[in-house]
């Protein structure tokens, strides 16, 4: 329930009913018409406020704080804390891949955590039941997809901007404080959401080359992973 809409809707509804009664008493059909449309708008906004639920951001933020106590020591033990993640497509499947070495396409499907020739890696299959994302081939298309997923669905920030070139620069504006805090962790949800959404939309293997947080602006630079 979103109380602000419920309150606004009920206020419009109440004022419109009063206007309608007044219109009926003075026998003015135009006032009754305005009141009827107001009653409709008030009802719609009240129902929207009643049914709309905010995404469970706080629940997942707390859950993440718990999970990071497992993920961070694990990455520290593997020596992967400073390594930014990538998304690799192998045999039609997408994998989240974290390793200082080059992706080993033929091995990542066999184990989640491993060491190949002394180089540790984590290769997690990206679930196929994630919500569909639109396909993009150009910067403005990707910007639209990212806006839809990152802003409208995940509520990460207020706007997104994509600069398309040899690297893909993604800026997210007005990222809430708790998201910014989470963004400083290795393998954090904001990095993963940006990277996975972009890679799935473009259907390309991408690596998070750089991630900078200035004030409440999040900036990620993605680069295509060369085939090995």
């Amino acid at each position: 329930m979103e109380s602000k809409y419920l309150i606004v809707g009920l206020n419009i509804l109440g004022a419109s009913i009063l206007l309608g009664i007044y219109g009926y008493l003075v026998n003015d059909s135009r006032l009754i018409g305005v009141a009827l449309s107001g009653i409709m708008a008030g009802t719609v906004i009240s129902v929207l406020g009643w049914t709309h639920t905010e995404y469970a951001v706080n629940l997942y933020a707390d859950y993440y704080r718990l999970v990071r106590n497992i993920v961070i020591p694990l990455m520290e033990d593997l020596g992967l804390t400073g390594v930014l993640p990538s998304v690799i497509f192998s045999e039609g499947k997408a994998y989240l891949f974290v390793s200082p070495g080059k992706p080993i396409l033929d091995k990542i499907s066999s184990s989640v955590i491993g060491i190949d020739e002394g180089i540790p890696y984590i290769a997690v299959p990206i679930p196929e039941d994630l919500p569909e994302v639109g396909k993009a081939t150009r910067g403005y298309e990707l910007e639209g997809v990212l806006r839809d997923v990152l802003i409208n669905t995940y509520g990460i920030g207020s706007n997104v901007e994509v600069t398309w070139g040899s690297d893909i620069k993604i800026l997210i504006y007005n990222v809430p404080i708790h998201n910014i805090h989470l963004s400083k962790d290795p393998l954090n949800p904001v990095d993963l959401a940006v990277l996975i959404t972009a890679a799935r939309s473009l259907h390309r293997s991408l690596v998070l080359k750089e991630r900078v947080i200035r004030g409440n602006v999040y900036q990620a630079i993605l680069k295509e992973v060369a085939e090995t």
């Binding site: 135009r30 305005v34 509520g155």
Partner: protein
């Protein structure tokens, strides 16, 4: 801006504009105001869906209810044209 914010703001602004225009033209039929408001709601709902389709029973009921009201208004007007007086 979130979709629900955009939807609610656009709905109120557009209904305000349509009411203003109808008042300006001196429209005296109350049902015209309501039917235009319902039409604006449906257009906006298809362009900026504030919730996922079919996810909320209450919204589906509201949509059904408004459609029936719209249908009744239009049927009444058509009846009046066919059988005047």
């Amino acid at each position: 801006m979130k979709k629900i914010d955009l939807f609610a703001l656009t709905l109120v602004v557009m209904i305000f504009i349509s009411n203003f225009m109808l008042l300006y033209t001196g429209e005296a039929r109350a049902d015209v105001y309501l039917s235009l408001a319902i039409l604006i709601y449906y257009i906006l709902y298809s362009v900026i869906p504030p919730v996922e389709a079919g996810k909320h029973k209450e919204i589906s009921l509201l949509n059904g209810g408004l459609f029936i009201i719209f249908l009744v208004i239009v049927s009444y007007r058509v009846y009046q044209v066919l059988y005047p007086g």
